[in-house]
């Protein structure tokens, strides 16, 4: 037994080494600072975004993700949250030319990882699952026209080759499965400087980053094999690049809030090792009115106070409640997790959970829902 376990440990160690470990929808993990990014394309300049092409993969960059979170209401009245994220990570740049003829079809330089989490509010349950696979033999991969990203039977896809075409999501883990269709309520919003998102003074530590802040969701959620009709709103984040976090950056708090007046706020607060906010923190405000442009928010534009705290089973502390103030938008809201424990015990560990929003916007009361991601609070072991 011991021997077998040890071997499995060895194997698991190998696979752990492969984990992109870049936390979702956020700058690149410091773990990769050592890797030579020069072999890959760099996100250094503003570039034009073309859809639906840019929904698809960008293999010349080292990493990339498709990231969907959403809040759902079942016809039964029960409330759910979900996260389905696909990561692409290249171990080495693609080889020029075709693979040698003697190559096994399993040869690959690209790995995929996916996380699927469900927050079952009524039952107080949070369940997640991770998949890791190689881009080979159709086991995992991504292609455009039409878009499809998948690992095994988990997938995110567009039904047609059109910029505004609907999306479908499919994933299953023990106890929970989703089959959802998503209709975008508006064009993609480019974050940062026209889609170029700088994460530090280091020019290479940047990525191309856009969001679709609101998609109407309908479909089925299966709990223990029994289907529930669900409706709700989702958020899509897309990011790709080749860089890594700055050496002093320890983690981030990411907010994606959808207010009931139709507007949406995205903000990520980068933290340094002392817990202070990094000046490269930034966000995007998407107004409710159709046609009105989204505009970026700088670090100084947003004030965040932590109003609550949660400890995981290992005793590590996460913030669990915030007051967000954006004076230039006359926005003052409190943000609370719908469930305290929405931590994914993956590598790395992070907290990614559904939240409720309540407060004032331009003197009127406003409510909303959203997702918050907290990275860098747990020790990696």
């Amino acid at each position: 037994m011991i021997g077998a376990r040890a071997l499995r440990r060895a194997l698991v160690a190998i696979s752990a080494a492969l984990l992109p470990a870049g936390a979702p929808a956020a700058p690149l993990p410091e773990r990769f600072t050592g890797a030579p990014p020069a072999e890959f394309a760099q996100a250094l300049e503003v570039r034009p975004f073309v859809f639906p092409r840019d929904h698809g993969p960008h293999p010349e960059f080292r990493q990339e993700w498709w990231y969907v979170t959403g809040n759902l209401d079942a016809t039964s009245g029960e409330r759910f949250g979900f996260e389905l994220t696909f990561f692409r990570f290249a171990l080495a740049p693609p080889l020029a030319g075709d693979a040698p003829p003697a190559s096994s079809a399993w040869r690959t330089r690209t790995l995929y990882m996916a996380h699927f989490a469900v927050t079952d509010v009524a039952r107080g349950r949070f369940r997640f699952m991770q998949k890791l696979s190689r881009e080979a033999l159709g086991l995992a991969g991504a292609h455009s026209a039409p878009l499809r990203v998948w690992i095994d039977d988990w997938s995110l896809a567009q039904a047609a080759v059109a910029a505004g075409a609907g999306w479908t999501l499919q994933a299953a883990q023990p106890g929970y499965e989703i089959e959802l269709t998503l209709e975008p309520r508006g064009a993609p919003v480019l974050n940062g400087e026209a889609g170029l998102s700088r994460k530090s003074d280091e020019p290479s530590a940047a990525s191309y980053y856009y969001s679709i802040p609101r998609l109407d969701v309908r479909g089925r959620l299966l709990r223990d094999g029994r289907p529930l009709e669900v409706r709700g709103a989702a958020w899509l984040d897309r990011e790709w690049g080749s860089g890594a976090l700055g050496a002093r950056q320890a983690g981030w708090d990411w907010f994606a809030l959808q207010l009931d007046d139709g507007s949406a706020l995205m903000f990520y607060a980068l933290r340094d090792r002392d817990g202070r906010r990094d000046p490269h923190s930034a966000g995007t405000w998407t107004p409710a009115q159709a046609g009105a442009d989204a505009h970026p928010l700088a670090s100084a534009d947003v004030a965040i106070d932590v109003t609550g705290e949660w400890r995981n089973a290992r005793g590590e502390r996460y913030p669990a409640g915030w007051r967000l103030q954006v004076p230039q938008l006359a926005l003052d809201v409190s943000v609370r997790p719908v469930l305290a424990d929405q931590e994914l015990a993956t590598t790395p560990r992070y907290w990614e959970g559904a939240v409720d929003v309540a407060g004032q916007r331009a003197g009127r009361s406003v409510r909303g829902r959203g997702y918050v991601e907290l990275v860098g609070y747990a020790q990696e072991r």
Binding site: I2, G3, A6, L7, A17, G34, Q130, L139, P174, T346
Partner: protein
């Protein structure tokens, strides 16, 4: 301690040498059993560990035809849309084969670490506690050619340096490789294993597009049976789903006949040990006849006396068990290598890196030791407990009783022999019944040996009486000593019979094998791809085959491919052959008519080897179902042929037919016939030159290959020899113990002879002559018994275990080991008493007790 036990214990302690020697016999007997258990268990454990190491948490596996499974099946299983609510199955692909590093054959496992980790994961994810190495390792694993992982110990054994670079050969082709990571705590399962990425394994093993198997993990607590049935229904023809444990059991079950034989051999040592304990206990009881009679006269009950003797035996038994367990651990360590070597030679590659002690071993040891001692002591205990408390019995009464016992023993011997015959006659297939018969026969030998010795001694005494009272004295002494030495003589006779029987069996087997090799190996030169017999990668490069056959001087050639296929009766070895005309005569049919069978063979019937015919109870015109690439298909058996190369048996199929049913066009071996003018040696060099730089093949002349086969044969019998020497050792110790005891007892008599004028040298010679006589007499009884034993071994045991017919070959050499053993044991046992008798202090020697 009560006075009763104190009295008896003091007596035993006053004869420490005797006690010690009885204990040595028991310790050796128990030790042999324990050692064999440990050796077998270690091999089994190593096998299981390596399977477990590779299978991980897999509960089932999907296995396919010899060519492996199409990898697209795996992709389909992972990506297919699932029914709503369908439980999650986890899958991991495995490509396995063998690689040679230097001289050593190691298992090569190709895995997808991501899938394997997922399969092994405890829950939905298995993140905690990962050791994070970093991207560099991941990158090396996936993108650097030749990256492997192995245990530090294996890397050390292979002499791989700090840079991790080494070269491995697969199917004769050399590849550079680099050890990326060495696991220090990988444990035994990782021993002799090279792990690499599945892509690399496919490329090295030439198995692109194929998987050896798919590991499956069915989640706990789900209605697994339904799920499995559903999964099995989705599998294409020729692909089967099997529980991992069942598959492992099935594989290891290949060695059943071998391990059963080992266990039987170890039981022989214990049986000899049992006789020794019996001897020692009855001697101890006999010596205390007076004490016990006094105790009984004073009022000790029969029960108390019985318990006294039995509790002594119990103490002896436990001490023997503990000593035996310890000794077994020691011998077991030595045997492990031999057992593993034999398994490697005969069955599959297993690297035993640690000795594993089966949990029940102490129980086995105590049961064997205690049980043996109690059973052995029961008879003498009953005799003294139930007998009338006579204070003194005239010597002649005792001897008349011994004579009576000898008569009864002769009768018992006859009954035992009849029992052995009955056990054989009443069963036709049972191996157990065969062993029962073998042991009954050996016991019969044991029973008859003392009687035979007595008869012989008395006959010589009668003849010698005319010549000399000293001869008569010596002979009569021997006959009279049987109450002391009889059991040891019986044990010696039994061990000698077993030794002779095994020697004849091995020699006969060797001769049968030699004849078979001569008949079967018709070609002049043999070419084969190196590797483990039926592994996939063992194939000749088609280019190389063309180059080989283009060498001038070749008259004809045979082609062969040996694979494992699934059948309704589990995995079977299939030997697909395209025969040269001259090769047909190499098969000796034991059932079926060659003139009819060969044409049928070409048309699609199969031939089966004797062991397979026996194992599956198949005869000509029976049908055998094999799982082909297009599903189960039943083949008619056209004939049964003699084959000693594979104890599980094989199916012989025409190569063209094989290719029709299985998508595998590889060839693993060629048999090359030369034109009359060509020489084998020159052809070997020419063929070597033709393959140079392409594929390192094994190219051997007929004579070389035959010699190699014989070498492997010898190696597989080493363990048998070791075990029978152990049994012989027990018998020798027993004889030594008994003779010592006897000599101690007759100190007075020898002293008297010395006083009357027998010189020290003559006295010593007398003692040596007596023990030698005993040894030779035991041998004399053992020779016919050994012949019978060899018959049982070849005609019953080997036949039932393997289905082999072995022609008996008798040679004087088969008896020489037994002769040496008999002489050595007798002389060794006689030397000390002889020396003692020559140095007797006469002044005190005649004092009354």
């Amino acid at each position: 301690m009560n006075v009763l036990h104190a009295a008896s214990l003091r007596h035993l302690l006053r004869h420490p040498a005797q006690l010690l020697l009885a204990l040595v016999g028991l310790v050796l007997g128990v030790g042999t059993i324990v050692a064999v258990d440990i050796a077998t268990a270690s091999a089994r454990r190593a096998f299981e560990l390596s399977l477990e190491a590779v299978n991980g948490a897999a509960t089932h596996q999907i296995a396919g035809p010899p060519g492996g499974i199409d990898e697209r099946l795996y992709v389909g299983l992972r990506t297919r849309p699932r029914a709503p609510g369908e439980p999650l199955l986890r899958f991991a692909p495995v490509v396995s084969g063998y690689a040679t590093v230097g001289e050593r054959v190691l298992q090569l496992i190709g895995i997808d670490p991501l899938a394997s980790a997922e399969l092994d994961g405890a829950g939905a994810t298995d993140a905690p506690g990962f050791a994070v190495h970093g991207v560099r390792e991941a990158r090396a694993w996936f993108t650097d050619p030749g990256t492997v992982v192995m245990s530090s110990a294996t890397a050390r054994e292979l002499g791989i340096g700090a840079d991790g670079r080494f070269e491995l050969a697969i199917g004769g082709v050399h590849h550079p490789a680099t050890v990326m990571a060495r696991s220090d705590d990988a444990g035994a399962g990782f021993a002799g294993l090279i792990v690499t990425d599945i892509a690399q394994a496919q490329e090295w093993l030439g198995a692109r597009g194929r998987l050896s198997r798919i590991d499956v993990r069915v989640p706990d607590g789900t209605p697994g049976a339904a799920l499995l049935a559903q999964l099995a229904a989705q599998l294409p023809a020729g692909v089967t789903l099997q529980a991992t444990r069942a598959a492992a059991r099935e594989t290891f079950a290949m060695t059943d006949a071998f391990t059963t034989n080992l266990r039987a051999m170890s039981l022989l040592a214990l049986l000899v040990g049992t006789l020794l304990i019996y001897g020692a206990m009855s001697f101890a009881v006999l010596q205390r006849r007076t004490i016990i009679a006094v105790l009984r006269a004073l009022g000790a009950t029969r029960r108390e006396v019985l318990m006294m003797v039995l509790s002594e035996a119990a103490v002896l038994g436990v001490a023997g068990a503990v000593g035996g367990a310890l000794l077994g651990l020691l011998i077991g360590r030595g045997l492990v290598g031999l057992v593993a070597q034999t398994i490697n030679d005969l069955y599959f590659v297993v690297a035993v890196s640690e000795v594993s002690v089966p949990p029940g071993i102490l129980v086995t040891a105590v049961a064997a030791g205690l049980g043996t001692a109690l059973v052995a002591a029961l008879l003498p205990a009953l005799e003294v407990a139930t007998g009338a408390p006579q204070l003194a019995l005239a010597r002649s009464v005792l001897e008349r009783r011994a004579l009576h016992v000898a008569g009864r023993l002769a009768l018992a011997s006859l009954l035992l022999a009849l029992g052995a015959g009955a056990a054989i006659a009443a069963s036709s297939r049972s191996l157990l019944a065969g062993f029962v018969a073998l042991f009954l026969l050996l016991l019969s030998v044991a029973a008859v040996t003392p009687a035979a010795l007595r008869a012989l001694a008395l006959a010589v005494a009668r003849l010698g009486a005319r010549v000399s009272p000293v001869v008569r004295l010596a002979c009569v002494d021997i006959a009279a000593s049987l109450s002391r030495t009889g059991v040891a003589i019986a044990a010696l006779g039994m061990a000698l019979a077993a030794m002779i029987g095994v020697a004849i069996m091995v020699e006969s087997f060797r001769e049968s094998l030699r004849e078979w090799l001569i008949q079967t190996m018709r070609a002049d030169v043999y070419v084969s791809a190196p590797g483990v017999s039926d592994s996939l990668e063992r194939r000749l490069d088609p280019e190389v085959v063309r180059a080989l056959l283009a060498v001038p001087g070749i008259r004809a050639h045979s082609e062969g491919r040996r694979v494992t296929v699934s059948s309704s009766g589990g995995p079977l070895d299939l030997n697909a052959v395209g025969l040269a005309p001259a090769s047909y005569a190499g098969f000796r049919f034991t059932q079926g008519d060659p003139a009819r069978a060969w044409p049928q063979f070409v048309r699609g019937d199969v031939l089966i080897s004797e062991p397979l015919a026996w194992r599956l109870s198949l005869a000509p015109y029976d049908r055998l179902t094999l799982i082909t690439d297009s599903g189960p298909r039943s083949f008619t058996v056209a004939g049964v042929y003699r084959e000693y190369g594979n104890d599980r048996g094989e199916v012989l199929m025409d190569l063209a037919q094989y290719r029709r049913w299985w998508s595998d066009d590889g060839i693993a071996a060629l048999g090359i016939y030369l034109v009359p003018t060509a020489s084998a040696a020159q052809m070997v060099s020419a063929l070597r030159a033709a393959t140079h730089g392409r594929q390192a093949l094994l190219i051997r002349s007929n004579a070389d290959l035959r010699a190699l086969s014989m070498r492997i044969f010898e190696r597989t019998f080493v363990i048998t020899r070791v075990l029978y020497w152990l049994a012989a050792g027990v018998a020798a110790v027993g004889l030594l113990s008994a003779l010592l005891a006897w000599e101690l007892e007759r100190t007075r008599e020898l002293a008297l002879l010395r006083t009357l004028g027998l010189t020290p040298a003559a006295t010593a010679l007398l003692v040596l002559a007596q023990t030698t006589f005993m040894g030779l007499a035991a041998l004399l009884a053992a020779i016919p018994a050994g012949l019978l034993t060899s018959l049982v071994l070849t005609e019953v045991i080997n036949r039932r275990a393997f289905g082999w017919h072995i022609d008996l070959h008798l040679q004087p050499a088969q008896f020489t080991n037994a002769l040496w053993l008999a002489l050595a044991a007798a002389l060794a046992a006689g030397l000390y008493p002889a020396w003692r008798s020559a140095r007797l202090a006469l002044a005190g020697g005649l004092r009354e007790e």
